[in-house]
Every structure is written in structure tokens, then in C-alpha cells.
């Protein structure tokens, strides 16, 4: 299926996708990821500064996408992995983000497990590799 997230669109967000750069509202201190034009806490429309998020957090919820149900961009990955886990992570700084969980995946995924961001290939379209964040369960928690 066609590139509904175009390369230019993807590139405009590489700071977020490659290394989790968020925004901090100078008005109320709210940390925002992914960036938005309006603060979700106080509604301010300007005075945001960029902040580098730690990439550490905890699993807030999860699912495991069965191979056959994967979106078209992920069908090759689904064919290889059979199924792949997707987690909603609550970052140390507050924002929650959704991403895949990479190997080694624990036998049982549990809400609350500590995770850390890793950079991986997300998918390839138009022969261009799209890199972005995924998470892995931190050592010793498996």
C-alpha cells in the first residue's frame, strides 16, 4: 500500500523518531511528546523549549499483534516474527508513547516492567529505511 507517511513527512519528525526530543512548556512545565502546537496542560501556544527525553520508562499497557493482522508496512516483519508485541510506555518524564517491543522479549510481558528506548529499523518503503524508536525490557527484568 502506498506511502501515506511520505518521506518528507517522516523526515520532519526525525528528531522525535530517532532520539525522543520532546517539548517543555515554559508556562506550566508540562513535557509534551510528540510535539504539539498547544500545551495539553495549560493550553499555551508558545514558549516551548526542546528537551531530550531519557528514553526510560515503564510498560503502561501492551498487546501482541498477530501476524495476519499487521498493517501492510509491517507484513514482512509479521511474516518473520509471527506476531510482535507493541507497548504503550509511560516515560520517566511523564509522556506516554507507543512503540514495538524488541527481542529478547520476556516470556510474559507485564504492565510495570521497566523498558528503555532503542533505535531500530521500523519499516522500509520506497526502498528507504525508516528508522525510529522501539523499546526493550531492561536487563534483569526478563
Amino acid at each position: 500500500m502506498g506511502a501515506h507517511i511520505s518521506i518528507p513527512m517522516y523526515q520532519r519528525a526525525v528528531k522525535q523518531r530517532y532520539r525522543l526530543v520532546g517539548l517543555k512548556c515554559s508556562n506550566c512545565g508540562q513535557i509534551i511528546f510528540p510535539p504539539k502546537a498547544g500545551c495539553k496542560s495549560c493550553g499555551a501556544l508558545d514558549n516551548f523549549t526542546e528537551v531530550q527525553l531519557s528514553g526510560r520508562g515503564k510498560i503502561y499497557s501492551y498487546t501482541v499483534i498477530a501476524g495476519a493482522g499487521a498493517p501492510p508496512e509491517f507484513s514482512e516483519e509479521a511474516a518473520y516474527r509471527g506476531a510482535y508485541p507493541v507497548v504503550l510506555v509511560e516515560l520517566e518524564e511523564g509522556p506516554r508513547i507507543i512503540a514495538q517491543l524488541t527481542e529478547p522479549v520476556p516470556a510474559e510481558i507485564k504492565i510495570g516492567m521497566p523498558v528503555e528506548m532503542v533505535l531500530r529499523q521500523i519499516y522500509t518503503e520506497e526502498d528507504v529505511i525508516r528508522y525510529g524508536y522501539k523499546f526493550k525490557v531492561l536487563e534483569g527484568e526478563k
Partner: protein
């Protein structure tokens, strides 16, 4: 603002119709709606049309779909507009049509929804199903709609102790209802075991937790109070309605075990109707996935979040129970032609209130007040309507 009533409604069966396109499906529902008006209505009485659709037949007519469809039924000069809010497109079409009549813009309006999902390859169907979340950040995690609702389900299970079996009971109930509905896509009863042993889709869901892809259309005819008598002595008034919105992406919401959009919409609807949830006799709610019906119970005020599962466990939301929910079979069993769903729910409520359910064994007895609830995506939008039979 004027009071608005439904004077007629039509709906195609939902399912797989290889021989029918978007135009034919719409025409079929339109014809039934026209014929359902007690005292008859000439099609040219319709003054405005609002038609909900997500993909307009998988993208073949994203521009100006509504006038195309109206032209197809011989009404090219009725001002018409396509309304899009993903799975709530039909509900928002209905909302716009009600407002057009209530505001005095017109006396008779058509609200409709239509979707043709079964014409395309599974890859393209997945594409269309995947465009209504926050595509830039949710979909790129490899997440499907089922996956998004599955993440909600897992969190709900964690926070409120909801069990896998309890989730399955939503599907079991709605299939029990759908079996009786001649217009339902799946007319088979299932058990908790069927659900648990189904093909996995997105943990904890199997295929039986998910609504199907469907073809279908629904049409609702609305009229201002002052002219209702020209068309029927049995109008169904929309006594309250409301809409709501929220961040599209789960990651942006404070809570994922409740839809703020639904709470917003239902609060407004109840306030306008001047009633409480206790006065609702039955409801058609948006059960695109089993967890969605559980969320709806809480967000529509049928009970406290986390405790609402009791409604299902004790059979209260079954036909014959205190508050039957999704007697049509719901999205789960009746089918979910995305844009049509909101208007199809209104069709069901209209017929139930008038005692006109197609199969007598599925008729709810003595119902006066009904509710319908339509959700866009994973709670990005919602529309709630409260209906009362008058006369």
C-alpha cells in the same frame, strides 16, 4: 431551536455484497426509508442531505460523494455533503442533519451512512482501517485498530480485574442477539470457548472479539416538529444529542480505560433530554471490539467504571434484561460498515421504539426511550443520541 423527529429509516442488510456498489447500497437503504414513512413522502420533500462515509467506496470518490449519491436516487439538487469522522461518520451525519432541521435551515433532512469495504484486497482494507488513528505516531508502531483496543483492554484488565472470559461474554451476547436479526452479517450463536479459541488478532483479542468488515448503508429521514403530522402519527423524537472529541492517540490521553469523547457526548445528550441514564430502556452502543462495549457502559453512565461488567454477568444487557444493549447484534454481529454504523443504529432504535423489529422474537417490549452511541476510531470522536417514541 426546533424539536426534531425521525419519520422514516431504512437499512441494507450488512455483510458481503459483491454485486452491489456504494450507489446501489445507498439506493437500497434510501428506498426502504422512503417506504417506511407512514403517510408517505415524496423524495423531493428532502431539502438537505448529510452522508457519512470514511472511504467512499475505498477511495474511488473521496470528493463530493454525497451529491453523487443523491443524484443516483434522482435528487441531484438537494444540497448534500459528505461527513467524515471515521467510524462515527454516520453519527456525525445524523448530528448535522438534526441541527439543520433544528436550526430552521430546512424542515426535512436526510442523514445517511454508507461503506463498501469488501471490494478491496485485504491489504487495502487494512490500509483503510488504519488511517483513522494518529497515523504518524500510532500506526508506525505497527499498531492496528484491534491492537489499539487491545492495549485498552489490557489496561482495563490490569486496573479493574476484568477477565478474558468476561470480555468474551460481550461477543457471546451480541451474537445471541444478532442471530435473531435478519439484517445481521453473522447470524450464529457462539460460546465463551468459541471466542477464546478463535484465531489470535491482537492479544488479548481473537477474531471473535472484533467486528467484521462489512458492506452496508443506512438512511434516516428527519423532520421538524411542526410538520411531523404530514408524514406520520408515530414519530420518534430525538430528545437529546451530543458529540465529543479527544486526542486521537491513546498516548496523549490521561486515561485509556474511558473515552472522554463519549462522556462529553453523553453528558450533553442526557442534559438536553433532561433524563438520567436510569431512564434509558435500551441502547445500541459502539462495540467495534468487545472492550468497547465495556467502556461504553461506564462512559454512558450505565454503571461505575470497573463494576459495569456485572451488567453483563447478570444478563441485564440481554434482550429481556433491565437494559438491553445491542439487540441488533451490535457492530460485532450485525456488522460494521464504517460510515453506515451510526445511522444503522438510529434505524434499529427507531424500529424498536415503534414495535417494528423485523423478527418479533427480537422486539423489546414497551420501550419508550432508546439511546445510540457511535465512536470514531479509538475514541477520537463520539456521538450520542437519545430517542423517545411520542404517539
Amino acid at each position: 431551536m426546533r424539536r426534531v423527529a425521525i419519520i422514516g429509516a431504512g437499512q441494507t442488510p450488512y455483510g458481503d455484497f459483491p454485486e452491489l456498489g456504494v450507489k446501489e447500497l445507498f439506493a437500497m437503504a434510501f428506498k426502504e426509508a422512503i417506504e417506511s414513512v407512514d403517510k408517505g413522502i415524496a423524495p423531493h420533500e428532502i431539502q438537505q442531505a448529510f452522508i457519512g462515509s470514511l472511504s467512499a467506496g475505498s477511495g474511488f470518490q473521496l470528493g463530493q460523494l454525497a451529491p453523487l449519491l443523491m443524484g443516483h436516487v434522482g435528487l441531484p439538487n438537494v444540497p448534500a455533503v459528505r461527513v467524515e469522522n471515521a467510524c462515527a461518520s454516520g453519527g456525525f451525519a445524523l448530528y448535522n442533519a438534526i441541527n439543520a432541521v433544528a436550526s430552521g435551515q430546512c424542515d426535512v433532512a436526510l442523514a445517511a451512512g454508507v461503506e463498501k469495504m469488501r471490494d478491496v484486497s485485504s491489504t487495502k482494507a487494512k490500509y483503510w482501517l488504519g488511517i483513522s488513528g494518529d497515523t504518524e505516531f500510532e500506526r508506525l508502531a505497527g499498531l492496528t485498530f484491534a491492537g489499539i483496543y487491545a492495549i485498552i483492554a489490557r489496561r482495563y484488565m490490569e486496573e479493574y480485574g476484568l477477565t478474558r472470559e468476561q470480555l468474551a461474554k460481550v461477543a457471546v451476547k451480541n451474537h445471541y442477539h444478532g442471530k435473531m436479526n435478519p439484517k445481521a452479517q453473522f447470524r450464529q450463536e457462539i460460546t465463551v470457548e468459541t471466542v477464546l479459541k478463535g484465531a489470535p488478532v491482537a492479544d488479548p483479542f481473537t477474531v471473535w472479539d472484533c467486528s467484521p468488515t462489512s458492506d452496508g448503508a443506512a438512511v434516516v429521514l428527519l423532520c421538524s416538529e411542526d410538520r411531523v403530522k404530514e408524514f406520520t402519527d408515530h414519530p420518534v423524537f430525538i430528545i437529546g444529542y451530543g458529540i465529543g472529541s479527544d486526542y486521537l492517540a491513546l498516548q496523549d490521553r490521561d486515561s485509556i480505560t474511558s473515552f472522554k469523547a463519549t462522556r462529553q457526548a453523553s453528558t450533553r445528550a442526557y442534559r438536553m433530554a433532561g433524563i438520567t441514564p436510569k431512564e434509558i430502556d435500551f441502547a445500541e452502543v459502539h462495540d467495534c471490539f468487545t472492550i468497547a462495549e465495556i467502556l461504553a457502559y461506564g462512559d454512558l453512565g450505565f454503571g461505575e467504571k470497573g463494576e459495569v461488567i456485572r451488567l453483563l454477568e447478570e444478563g441485564e444487557t440481554y434482550l429481556g434484561g433491565r437494559l438491553p444493549v445491542n439487540v441488533s447484534g451490535g457492530l460485532k454481529s450485525k456488522g460494521h460498515p464504517i460510515g453506515a454504523t451510526g445511522c444503522g443504529q438510529a434505524y434499529e432504535v427507531f424500529n424498536q421504539l415503534l414495535g417494528r423489529a423485523k423478527n418479533p422474537e427480537r422486539q423489546i417490549k414497551n420501550a419508550e426511550v432508546g439511546l445510540s452511541h457511535n465512536v470514531g476510531g479509538s475514541g477520537g470522536t463520539a456521538a450520542v443520541f437519545i430517542y423517545r417514541r411520542e404517539g
